[in-house]
Amino acid sequence: MLNFLDVYERALKGPIMSENDFDIKIFIPTLNKVVREYGIKYDKENPVPSDDKIADNLFKAAVDFMSQVGVYCQDTNRVIQFTQEEILEAVREAPGKCFVGEGKEAGVFGIRKPDDHQVPWLHVGSGIVTTSEEMAANKIESYASISEANSMSVAALDNIRGIPIMAGSPAELYAAIRSIKIAREAIQRAGRPGLPIMNLIATAASAVTTIAASAPQFGLRATDGWLCGTVAEMKIEFGTLNKVAYLLNWGANIGAETAPILGGYCGGPVGTAVVSTAYILVGLLVHKGNYQLHFPVHFKHGCSTTRDVLWVVSISCQAASRNISMPVIWLGYMAGGPNTKMYFYESAAWLLCAAVSGAPSVQTPHPAKAVLIDGFTPMECKFGVEMAKSATRFDRQKANGMVIRLLEKYESKIETAPQGSRYQDCYDVVTGKPGEAYVRLYNEVKEELAGMGIAFE
């Protein structure tokens, strides 16, 4: 497989073009052509398809698409190109597993297949839903206390000593280091000091802050995991490549972070499905990732639970899990917020969709489109874990029927979804325990789901 410097050289020597030309003259027309040539069709009636041939065809379309389009480097204005042979070689040599955590919490995060009854790797928490210093520790301790959780994400801080955090600023560096210290201490309080943090570093938007705050004296370990992003669609920049270079030299876990947007340059669901699958190839070839965080999302609704995005999640997850041995954490954004029934209906639908489609790992579905500060609680983590486990009892066909029933409960309300409650409004901030009302709501939803055949242990 090409090594990182080989890939970087292509960023220096690949065909030169403006970003606009890459989008309009290469990306969009090639995607339209590939969709046509491979006959990719959106099945509105079946958000969870179960035909392996469709998934494998999508994988081939993604390989072809990637070989024709490549990845655009914004800093050099050149396209990093790969041949089909190189792409398939990377697929053959894909990592297959990711070693994370320390001591009792050390684990191996591997792969799954569609209809797999093995429980996915359970990743809890959220990085993108920000929190304040004062509440971070209790929340993180609660996430880490979920015994089934295999790894976690820790939240970004939104201010340090009252100073707002701006990307690339000294405040960002201070906050990044502080967030790591808070997280490590809180995880230790939960009695699981070796539990890996795999969304490093949420508070650090800039590469230089990430690299600086990753110095081992601040508490991070090579067995944690760092997220290295892409720019939509199919673009990369030096900040990410610098992070990758640093982590490769350290030998730390590299998580490619990718998020195709339905409604953006990908167009509708068929184009988004191709790009979603192609991104797993990008994670292998460009990021040199040994795991990936992947979250298709709808541009207009800002969530992952519209019917068309569920289809994209299912079919591209099937294409990837059947053909590419990359440990991928699949993540969804819910329109409904914490402490709402709508959040749980959406989460159930999304987790069913991902789990039966072969997702190697699922993360706690993010509430309220991840825009509400402190709008994330341990209750969502608990539900995510229980629901993911329950989902593995089903196959794609059965899950499809259940997802359709769940869609009926929330689909028409996506545009007016309730934002829900902040952590401090439904939890005791001192004890870190949920309020009675939220516990009641949770139990009501569990009963409803049990009535649908989705029973928790």
Partner: protein
């Protein structure tokens, strides 16, 4: 060919994103001595409005918007010289300067808003991504913008939106511009907190807010 048919053909070419067809129809406008400004307003703009409506309904996406805008520009290359020769001008609804704030490299949402604004007849100056606050203001001065539209997709870059507003105040320019904000983590609450004039959750909402603000100005 009848004027009505020519206008319909222009509109259809925009909806189909067919550059060759629209150029052919634009040449027909000139050959038939049909009013070129009328052709823009009742032909091309109608087509753009149709694409805009389809986008809002979820029947069209960013690629269709971009193709429509590209096709529109192809027609304008042919019609604009004649419009100017007649000493007329295509009326613009206003000038919007749009950009992603400093430290943020995300641009899809901003690109969609910029394209939808163009479709609705606004002159748009797109600064791209990662723009320092002072640069945004200097460019707004240069293009005589009516509205400054700021995009941010990360909570850590949102303070950049506040910084632009604060810098406008320091430079005694706050009253000169409407400032609207948008982007994934941005909320109405945040917009109110930083003193923005408007917040749009979607591209179409952004256009409605810009129209409302400019109507107040007039």
């Amino acid at each position: 060919m009848e004027k009505k048919q020519i206008f319909e053909n222009l509109a259809m070419a925009i909806v189909e994103g067919d550059r060759e067809k629209v150029k052919e129809n634009a040449r027909e406008v000139l050959n038939s001595r049909v009013d070129p400004l009328g052709a823009v307003e009742q032909g091309l703009s109608k087509g753009m409005a149709t694409v805009g409506e389809r986008f809002e309904k979820g029947e069209a996406y960013l690629p269709e918007l971009l193709m429509a805008a590209d096709t529109f520009n192809a027609a304008m290359e042919i019609l604009k010289p004649e419009i100017e020769a007649q000493k007329k001008k295509v009326a613009k609804a206003g000038t919007v300067l749009i950009g992603t704030v400093k430290g943020d490299v995300h641009n899809i949402g901003k690109n969609i808003v910029a394209t939808v604004l163009e479709i609705h007849g606004f002159e748009v100056r797109d600064l791209g991504v990662d723009n320092p606050s002072l640069y945004i203001i200097q460019e707004a001065e240069k293009v005589k913008a009516d509205v400054i539209a700021l995009s941010s997709l990360m909570t850590t870059t949102m303070p950049g939106q506040k910084e632009v507003i604060e810098t406008l105040k320091e430079m005694h320019l706050r009253e000169k511009y409407f400032v609207i904000v948008g982007g994934g983590p941005v909320t109405q609450e945040w917009a109110d907190k930083i003193g923005a004039d408007g917040y749009g959750r979607s591209a179409v909402q952004a256009v409605e807010i810009v129209k409302k603000l400019l109507a107040q100005k007039r």
